[in-house]
Symmetry: C2
Subunit: 698 residues, 2 copies
């Protein structure tokens, strides 16, 4: 039976939304991707994986964990060609894209290439590094690595890890050992069924003395047979919230011996005689962490854009309730409250995207500057200050951007009503896969407090008259503390608003800290005690920072339709966030109650304005139907047809009902139980009477 | 190898937390459960299901969808005995408890008993009802029902449903038909593989005229063979975010005939001649909806308590980082920021719990009053007003309590760090199962707007001098509008704060609405336009309402250790929410900036105070290890041991690696590809030279 389609069809509705875009979608898309080259590469990667059988996504919701694991390994194997034949820059863009399509795969691959290889690069001596490269660590021919840091009872506190590596001078070996259950290596991606070697973080003990946590490359499995090496116990840690394509495992070492040369010795050295030489200066790891955090900011934007592509397209084609005398029901996207639900999130995803692009450039500039600079360069301290500041800010960015993205995914799901709860909408998987980003690479709350601690320090430096790095330079301008809005709610007014309020909340945290110190607390105690204020300082500073980077990016663009639209988006982001955090803007007097009402009105109006270009804006995100993997977000608007087809394909009816005979039939055929008294059911009393009369007759 | 345990063990730590509770846990628990009887029954139900094989929970994370479905049907079958042999009150308490253990089962059962049976009770004539009872609808012996309302393209807008039921006078039948794909019945719980009959909501057409949506009991399957009835097409809609134990399906009807008598005719009647009689008054459905919402408020509290039991116990035993010179690392629960993360959520879960208890009593009182009252009773209008008001408030309560619970589950997950991401922590399933509560029975945003609409109406009535029902009575006291804090931050000061601010935000929404009306908008347009303000009004009113009900409950208790602790909890709830919504309290001047700083300090101090009794308080929630189903929340504190044992049991290692030979071996044995020029690899140039020389020689 061919069903008739109600008019206008969902396809026609979406086409109408695209009829007269007020800006050039291609140009907008290039702006969002940083360059035309990046966009073209992305389109190439999307086309490639859409055709690769290992990257099939439509059936992913109905695969078992074991099937997912195997499918993920297929992707892994298919990438080895590119990692050895493509420039690093191109390959990173490829992984960034694939990471949005399949975060499980991204992680499983990243364990070997990002974490294990990264540990070698940052910890091995040049000779050690060539040794491992000769053994095949780049092409995976000989070594597949994993990163064995976290333990069952220790995560954030790396210095507290309890696995031991005891030097045995006699054999010139380290003995790796798991002393108790809590010291079991846990969450180790790749350990359960992929890795041959691990970078094991363990407390080094030489001659009974503890020297802190060092890294030891330890073989886990025989490379020919894949059997476990003696003393190595490995188990699978099983089902997770998401990313089930990763084979996370646990590892217990029972007196496992590794050659001394397998300890990574770029920083700390242990000689043949057991002499330990510590590095003269603590390792400068800012750079490495910064790179990871930058990529998480970008991933937050991209993942949010993926969810929003679905939610906004669906809201354009879904109609519900007719208002007034309209025959046709209203598009969800035309309801002011639905605009309120989605448009600020669109603005936020775009803002975070531009932040990621600029962070990337800053990061590359700084790396290059540090690489080429002589120690005697007079600018060295400035660069180091800037690096330190960006490092601290990046901690806050990682936290608040991943939280924003997770929140966006869930709000998008809810905005699609019941269908958002279907696995095939892809929201459940997006949420489950993304959720871990708020926890790993530093728990978001802890990272926020680190950012807050650094802001407290920056405030102190400013008070002492120091000129601060650009990200916190506003702390040098104390006139900001009592600044007031000029009521324009322009981009520069909004920027001042954030600077003013960030300054005030940082000052509050810092003064609290100083007060606690004066009352006799230790530095650590005082920092803990003022943690709520530090957290708030980090939050406000970070939002203001995102707004600044976005605004700067947009203001640097030439004045055209694209940049004018983006200015509207920037304004929406800045004002909506002021509304969200309105308490601080009122408390510190930057805005008064009437102005705050005006902010609400402006946000309403801006939501409506952005709604007008919502579909072209979403199209500029340039995410293919394959990547989005949700019939609700189909580019052509054929939402119900695609959804129905996918549900049917994924759920063929079984030939026979699996449990009708065992469980349902007995219910249906069950006799009505009369809930009568067993006595009367048996006719007991009549029977007793009969017996009595019989007895009488006897 | 027996692992040594670090001292104090996690078990010892938890025992220490329980050493000297400042209140009687049993008494506290009775207060939270409303009565000793309710607590004893709950303990009985928990003991029963902990021993019932169908209610095994520890393996639930690793079951496939099909296995979950079958397991859920086993539970279903095991309950039929109780539903026919237990008092309604007892059975409801049983289901309330089981709903926390397994929401999937709760829903699958509720479809037959709550929705299908409920549709009959509210829509069938007495004769129709006895007919269906005779057919076995109570004992499921003959009829297993499902509730076919939602369609693929229509959810919230029930009046817009597109399935048709056309009266055929000739045969005295209705013809049920699905006219196009969007009208496919969708999400129908029980349809895919359980139900024999459905209550189908369809547009009734008699003599070409549409009479709106009515309900038709339609047979789906033969009760002997379970084959589909002619014209009925059913499919499985497959994987969902959670609740995969429910067999949600889709249904398409192709000219399916049902006797006229199968239309439920309590309200609208259709005679043999096709004469349609509409009811004189629109059906009074407040009561029914109110019951459902009350149970969702209670479920929100219970589900939040379940998550918090895990997170708080884990935070007590997990140690991370040593502060100062301590040998022992600090319990997470001793960090001020961790107290901030969890203690307000504990207070909120308790507040919502007391709200649920009081709502239940109010609901029962009102139902009884309505049942026994004569139409001429002078109090009828008061009761109806109160019913209407409670109904509107319950819409907001459903929305904000389910949101609060979902948020609590995710925050609890994050507070457990990486382990919260393990399926065995049970947070992923709790979240996935609970998430739908924000969508079904009315999307939360839409319900909030309904509550907001009613508040705007109540404001108008107050302005006209009407004495309002208790829940909104504060709108009668306009002196509240400019009230100021007495700086005491006492329970009554907090209550006035909420009343003041709720009044102000309602007034703002109402004035916006009136202004829009005056500018020429229709009522509908004006309501849509002011939806953001309506939403805020609903949010603030609802939080203030929860606070009031909690405060009243606590203030009615006799003055003892339990009530004193609960007063501290109530204060934490009220002040923390003021902090969360601080913008409105500053905007309307109830608190100034200095007082707001004091609020923050008080919340810090109250978090620390509640932390002191956190474990006894959590113990009062009285949730068994079986119900919680998370090793991280074990009552005895044996967190790591239980977690490790569960992970091992759920993930036996396969005898053979499933894909080593196919996917990993080829990588490991792959030769280093020299990325050299193919010409030089072939020695092409030498070869050419040889050829040339040969030619020369010729």
């Amino acid at each position: 039976m061919a069903f008739p389609r109600p008019k206008p069809t969902t396809m026609e509705t979406l086409a109408m939304e695209r009829a007269n875009p007020p800006f050039n979608i291609r140009k907008m898309s290039i702006a969002m991707h940083g360059s035309e080259k990046a966009l073209i590469l992305k389109e190439k990667f999307m086309a490639e994986i859409a055709r690769h059988p290992a990257f099939k996504l439509s059936d992913i919701h109905d695969l078992s964990k074991d099937e997912l694991r195997e499918r993920t390994m297929e992707k892994f194997a298919s990438m080895v060609y590119f990692v050895t034949n493509e420039s690093l820059e191109t390959f990173q863009l490829r992984m960034q894209l694939i990471g949005i399509a399949d975060p499980s795969f991204w992680t499983r691959f990243g364990v070997a290439y990002g974490l294990f290889l990264g540990a070698l690069r940052s910890g091995a001596t040049p000779n050690q590094l060539s040794y491992w490269i000769d053994r095949g660590v780049l092409g995976l021919n000989g070594v597949i690595g994993c990163f064995a840091m976290t333990e069952l009872a220790h995560g954030s506190n790396v210095a507290g890890l309890e696995t031991t590596a005891t030097f045995d001078r006699g054999s010139d070996e380290f003995v790796i050992h798991t002393p108790h259950l809590g010291a079991t290596k846990w969450w180790i991606g790749g350990a359960a069924s992929t890795a041959t070697h691990a970078a094991v973080f363990a407390q080094m003990i030489v001659d009974g003395k503890r020297h802190g946590v060092k890294t030891f490359v330890t073989q886990l499995r025989d490379t020919k047979t894949f059997t476990l090496m003696p003393g190595v116990t490995i188990g699978d840690i099983g089902k997770k919230m998401g990313r089930d394509g990763i084979d996370n495992g646990y590892i217990q070492f029972t007196y496992v011996r590794v050659p001394r040369a397998h300890m990574l010795m770029k920083h700390t050295q242990v000689s043949r005689d057991g002499v330990v030489t510590e590095p003269p200066l603590a390792q400068l790891t800012y750079g490495a962490l910064l790179g990871g955090r930058t990529s998480m900011v970008t991933d937050s934007s991209n993942s949010a854009k993926k969810a929003l592509t679905v939610a906004v397209r669906y809201a354009a084609v879904r109609r519900q309730f007719a208002t007034g005398k309209n025959e046709l029901e209203t598009q969800l996207l035309d309801y002011p409250i639905h605009q309120r639900r989605l448009m600020p999130l669109v603005a936020q995803a775009i803002a975070i995207g531009f932040t990621g692009l600029r962070l990337q450039v800053m990061y590359e500039d700084m790396t290059q500057a540090l690489d080429t600079m002589e120690p005697s360069d007079p600018n060295l301290n400035d660069i180091l200050d800037k690096l330190k500041e960006t490092h601290a800010t990046s901690a806050g960015l990682k936290a608040f951007c991943t939280w924003a993205c997770l929140d966006t995914i869930d709000k998008c799901r809810q905005s699609c009503g019941g269908h958002g709860y279907s696995a095939y909408s892809n929201f459940p998987l997006m949420y489950a896969d993304f959720a871990v980003q708020c926890t790993w690479e530093g728990d978001n709350t802890i990272l926020s407090l680190q950012a807050g601690r650094s802001l407290v320090g920056a405030w102190g430096a400013a008070v002492r008259g120091k000129k601060l790095a650009p990200g916190v330079a506003y702390l040098n301008d104390s006139s900001l503390l009592s600044a007031k809005s000029d009521s324009s709610l322009s981009l520069s007014d909004i920027q001042r608003a954030w600077n003013c309020v960030a300054f005030n909340v940082i000052k509050k945290a810092a003064e609290e800290y100083v007060r606690l110190l004066k009352s006799g607390k230790t530095k650590d105690e005082a920092m803990e005690k003022c943690s709520q204020s530090r957290f708030i300082a980090a939050k406000i500073h970070t939002i203001g920072y995102i707004f600044r980077l976005f605004r700067e990016a947009v203001e640097e663009m030439k004045d055209d339709e694209e940049s004018r639209t983006l200015k509207t988006v920037a304004k929406l982001y800045g004002l909506w966030q002021i509304e969200e955090q309105q308490g601080y803007f009122l408390k510190y007097g930057y805005l008064d109650a009437q102005q705050m009402d005006k902010v609400q009105e402006s946000v309403d109006a801006l939501c409506q304005e952005v709604r007008g270009v919502a579909i072209p804006l979403i199209d500029s995100f340039a995410l293919s139907d394959h990547i989005i993997n949700s019939p609700l977000g189909r580019w052509d608007g054929s939402v119900y047809e695609s959804y129905f087809a996918q549900v049917q394909a994924a759920n063929p009816l079984p030939k026979e009902h699996p449990y009708f005979t065992r469980l349902i039939k007995p219910l249906l055929e069950r006799q009505n139980e009369d809930m009568e008294d067993p006595g009367s059911a048996m006719g007991l009393d009549d029977e007793l009477k009969e017996i009595e009369e019989e007895r009488k007759g006897e």
